[in-house]
Amino acid sequence: MAIAREHPLHKRRSGRNVGLALVLLAFIALVFGLTIAKVSGGGSIEAFDHTYRPMLDPATLIPTEE
């Protein structure tokens, strides 16, 4: 007696795997979209390494009245 190649069990497992894959893909897309939204709404972003940052240069700071 040959082993059945396609059993309802395989269909169920395949459905589960496809469903989980779609959920994970949707989650990745959502986190990516959220990152873009947060970054684009976060104002100016400056690099920290090997870059001149005017904000950290005392010479560029505007003196405040005391």
Partner: protein, 324 residues
């Protein structure tokens, strides 16, 4: 060879389809959660990035689904007894209790953390409290202990519009509290109408529903009293910054309709109800569902209309909060 074949054909209790895991999250309840949370989010003052709004709704829904899975894990014994719930994934043997617990806990953590990252700490804290309230206060404690289970447990279902509001504003205001109260006061008459025509189920599961502990006459009176108490809450919401003529008209019309239904339930006795297979109770139960959707839909309509300057100016006259 026969043994090998047997290994392929035997399916264990945990061999569920993807849809069984979705059913674990109570998608029908999730519809209400999504709609009320979306309403809270859309009517809140200020703006939110559309992606953040989408993420907020998804994670609020996920939190609601997670608490549904934890509820099914805890209530598996009584779900198996009740006809209405016997086909749920755990009592039907498709999903194990351990799986439901693992899914519930994991999704709870993911939803709260992600809502925090997507919006703010207050919205996430409210979602965490909602899950705790539904699972621990309602499912584990009140449901089997008191006939007022629906009244206090209903608070869990009332939080989503407040979470939606908090996701945008980062705070909780009178408007958010009134939206909470609207769902809170709506829940008891809605579920007691269901309990009236699902009598045998709760009775056999030994869940102390009001129908079982205080009788059906008392339940009919409770439905009427809570529906009367719902009316001022529904109207007061219309006098705040999120209300207006469209909402007030819808709230008044549908609240009177709900009252009319509750009155019809109160007037009937068991002989009349059984004679027409609880037709009035079923009609009021269906009406109560549309009641909530119409009222929150009207709030969304108000938010959309307020973009028209002439309408916004007109509506400001009705704002009780500003008048005070």
């Amino acid at each position: 060879m026969t043994d090998i074949r047997a290994d392929f054909t035997q399916t264990g209790p945990a061999d569920a389809e993807f849809g069984d895991y979705v059913a674990l999250l109570k998608p029908r309840v999730m519809t209400l959660v999504v709609f009320t949370a979306l309403s809270g989010l859309l009517v809140a003052p200020g703006g939110i990035h559309p992606i953040e709004a989408l993420a907020a709704i998804i994670f609020i829904a996920l939190g609601g689904g997670a608490s549904g899975a934890l509820n099914m894990w805890w209530d598996a014994d009584i779900d198996a007894v009740m006809k209405r719930t016997a086909k749920r994934p755990i009592p039907s043997g498709k999903v194990t209790e351990g799986e439901a617990l693992a899914i519930g806990v994991t999704l709870s953590a993911i939803s709260v953390i992600m809502l925090w990252l997507a919006t703010n700490a207050l919205a996430a804290a409210l979602l965490a409290f909602t899950i705790f309230f539904y699972v621990v206060i309602y499912s584990m404690w009140l449901k089997r202990a008191t006939p007022q289970n629906i009244v206090i447990g209903g608070a869990a279902g009332a939080f989503p519009p407040m979470i939606g509001w908090a996701a945008v504003t980062g705070s909780v205001s009178v408007e958010a509290c009134l939206m909470f109260l609207l769902v809170f006061m709506w829940t008891p008459p809605h579920f007691w109408a269901l309990a009236l025509f699902m009598k045998s189920d709760y009775h056999e599961a030994k869940v102390p529903m009001l129908t079982v502990t205080h009788g059906r006459r008392a339940t009919r009176t409770h439905i009427l009293v809570y529906t009367i108490a719902l009316l001022p809450v529904a109207l007061a919401t219309g006098l705040t910054s999120i209300g207006g003529p469209v909402y007030l008209a819808a709230a008044l019309w549908f609240s009177l309709g709900f009252l009319h239904g509750a009155w019809a339930i109160w007037k009937r006795d068991e002989v009349q109800a059984e004679a027409d297979s609880y037709a009035t109770e079923k009609r009021v139960f269906r009406f109560s569902l549309s009641y909530l959707f119409v009222l929150f839909g009207a709030l969304i309509a108000e938010a959309a209309l307020r973009n028209l300057p002439a309408y916004a100016e007109f509506v400001a006259q009705f704002n009780l909060m500003e008048m005070l």
